[in-house]
Symmetry: C2
Subunit: 411 residues, 2 copies
């Protein structure tokens, strides 16, 4: 048994998915304690009620707040190369087309990933995951989608598999070959999909457990509804759970498709309308918002409050990627959700824990403070979680536990 | 002599003030080296031209970018208490008046500061300054203004004086008794000003070198133009250089006053209009923008690009304070300036170095890479400064030098 005592505020996040209207109703126990039995939460409550076995290990939370470990449920953390030139061009007012003409855009990253070995991709991702962990993040979803050949997509998924063994952050792999059509298939997206939806390839991804989810960028400039349907239904037959990039730039009823294919999440939603919200509600999937992306690109945020009022389970993730969101800090993105989308700190916390766990199908085990749940925890350097969200730009995480063991400390 | 070699990019920021139209024209030397002679820059140039004395000390920049140490020219870093409850209320849609009625607002901080000893104020500010230093900040301006009695304002300035001796960040003190009228003088702002502009008090501040600048919050809810004029001209007679909070919420021609009293800077400027820009240009003072404040409050940003086009020397600072900008990271605020105000990374860098130095009257010594200037430097973990601005939420600073000595390292 490991005891955590002297907790200033224990935020009792219940298991997800949690509908938007209930997301701010969190029980907070002041002066709390916890007992961990191996990987699991065995007990929690007010400290005076703690009946700790003598001689056990213990951690002094020093009056800090304790929350579930954060879950970043939408990222592109495996990549090579950086695109700061494009960042500057965008500030200077260059359009997407001008940037692409000047050699920018996603294809820069595709070229860099294709040129990199799997070892190099692993080497580049390791310090990113290490920094995420030090920000309190204990689970990260990572998508392929910068290889865009059979070999390079498999290389990205293989990099994620190796990363699982090299560091403590739990990784969730998503197959996103349908990210964009590569230049060698320009004008022939269906031929490209023939290649990346090849049955023996999908069987291999399933059999080698290289991915749990399949994603598609459903967008005017990427794949249309019909193509997206094909991607998700084909992959589903091979055991990959559907999820999709929906309504980011163009509103094209992708949320209807989400319901139709049984997607676990619909992500982005910057341009979602009332019909889309109704479709999402009917679909029963998690609405994953990416406020760091809109912030980074200086474009409109998704209508978060309308989604919450519709009682949808809302999650928040970084979308960490080198083109549209070079933001690896989930706490910073949660702060952006607070000030730019008007989520309360409680809503932002549920969005990055319980509901993010639901978006990666781990809500039976992760993202909540409940007896029997996995002891993935962050101990903060501030006495309450409101104060954490109120201080962007400062890492308020002191200690991080994964499966009941201390895996990072910022002392 | 201390050599810094293997610099991926040396950003040659010239001494300030630099007019807006020239702020993005920075010389960058690839594969550079520097020589420091004690506290000063003795030489810099392409590494192959380095003629380092044998046996001297050296620092390997590991291909990282080198920039002048950052200067945060507008902060309220000395304070007690936090106001996260108010942060949450604001997100929930409460108005300023409702928050004040619920016991929030600046008076919460005033009460906390009045209750704190000078020792306690020092103890609270030390870790903040330490974290700022680790973000590459080597000089910080700090205002009084939460005491609002003679004794408590002196206590705040005394705290700044003690902090100068306890840590390496260079501090610049500003007397801001005219921050707001305290409740015991409600309805009698002129009586309050009689007290804090008392001649023997101002003489003491001058003689004991407790402050270099005098600031006033010129705003409908604080002090009007006539009162602000009185504050700044009176203080100026005692050697305190004027600066002012202008055009934050209400456009009331404070920039005209800036010119009239010879202010070194006019700060905030969220509501500045064309006449104000012309007045500021005529006044010859630095325009200090505080994008972290508008971001934190979710309100409109100052029209930065119009100020730059008018060729005004623009600075950027955090406004770090517990009410309207709990943001201590100047690099994060510079990123916000890039994405939310459309400053290029080069403009943001000049704004937080050369022009910030001009705003605190240290441009003869600080904020630039030039032979003879003080060796306040930050060595980054990224090869160019564009990449630094492109990665918010990650501390890219590796090593910080103040007066030619290493004072912080993030290895």
């Amino acid at each position: 048994m490991l005891a955590i005592h002297n907790i200033g505020e224990l935020v009792v996040v219940p298991p997800g998915p949690i509908g938007g209207r209930s997301m701010r109703d969190l029980t907070r126990i002041a002066l709390a304690a916890m007992l961990l039995d191996g990987e699991r939460i065995a007990w929690f409550g007010p400290e005076p009620q703690l009946d700790a076995p003598t001689g056990g290990e213990s951690i002094d939370a020093c009056g800090g707040c304790v929350i579930p470990g954060l879950i970043d449920c939408h990222t592109h953390t495996v990549f090579a190369g950086t695109r700061e030139a494009e960042f500057v061009q965008r500030i200077e007012g260059k359009s997407y087309a001008q940037i692409a003409e000047a050699g920018g855009g996603i294809r820069v990253t595709v070229d860099a990933v294709r040129s990199a070995t799997c070892d190099r991709l692993v080497e580049l991702a390791l310090p990113r995951l290490q920094r995420m962990l030090h920000n309190g993040v204990t689970t990260v979803e990572i998508k392929s989608g910068y290889g865009l050949t059979v070999e390079d997509e498999l290389k990205m998924l293989e990099a994620v598999r190796r990363l699982k063994e090299l560091q403590p952050v739990e990784l969730v792999a998503t197959y996103l070959a349908a990210h964009t059509t590569p230049r060698e298939f320009e004008g022939r997206p269906d031929d490209y999909l023939d290649m990346v939806l090849n049955e023996s390839l999908l069987a291999r991804i399933r059999d080698e457990k290289l991915a749990e989810f399949c994603d598609v960028f459903c967008e005017r400039t990427a794949f249309d509804i019909e193509q997206s349907r094909r991607v998700l239904t084909t992959a589903k037959r091979f055991g990959l759970t559907p999820r999709l990039h929906a309504d980011q730039i163009t509103q094209m009823s992708a949320t209807l498709l989400a319901g139709e294919v049984g997607a676990i999440s619909a992500d982005h939603l910057e341009t979602i309308d009332d019909a889309g919200i109704a479709a999402l509600k009917a679909a029963g999937c998690v609405a994953v918002l990416l406020p760091g992306c809109s912030f980074f690109l200086s474009v409109k945020q998704a209508p978060a409050r309308r989604l919450l009022e519709a009682d949808l389970p809302v999650a928040v993730a970084t979308d960490f990627n080198p083109g549209s969101a070079m933001v690896e800090s989930l706490p910073l993105v949660m702060h952006i959700a607070c000030t730019q989308m008007r989520l309360t700190p409680a809503e932002a916390l549920v969005a990055a824990t319980a509901n993010a766990a639901a978006a990666v199908n781990r809500h039976d085990r992760l993202g909540a403070i409940k007896v029997g749940m996995q002891a993935d925890l962050a101990i903060l350097d501030v006495p309450n979680h409101d104060q954490w969200m109120y201080e962007p730009g400062r890492n308020c995480v002191r200690t991080v536990l994964k499966r009941g063991r201390v895996v990072a400390s910022n002392d």
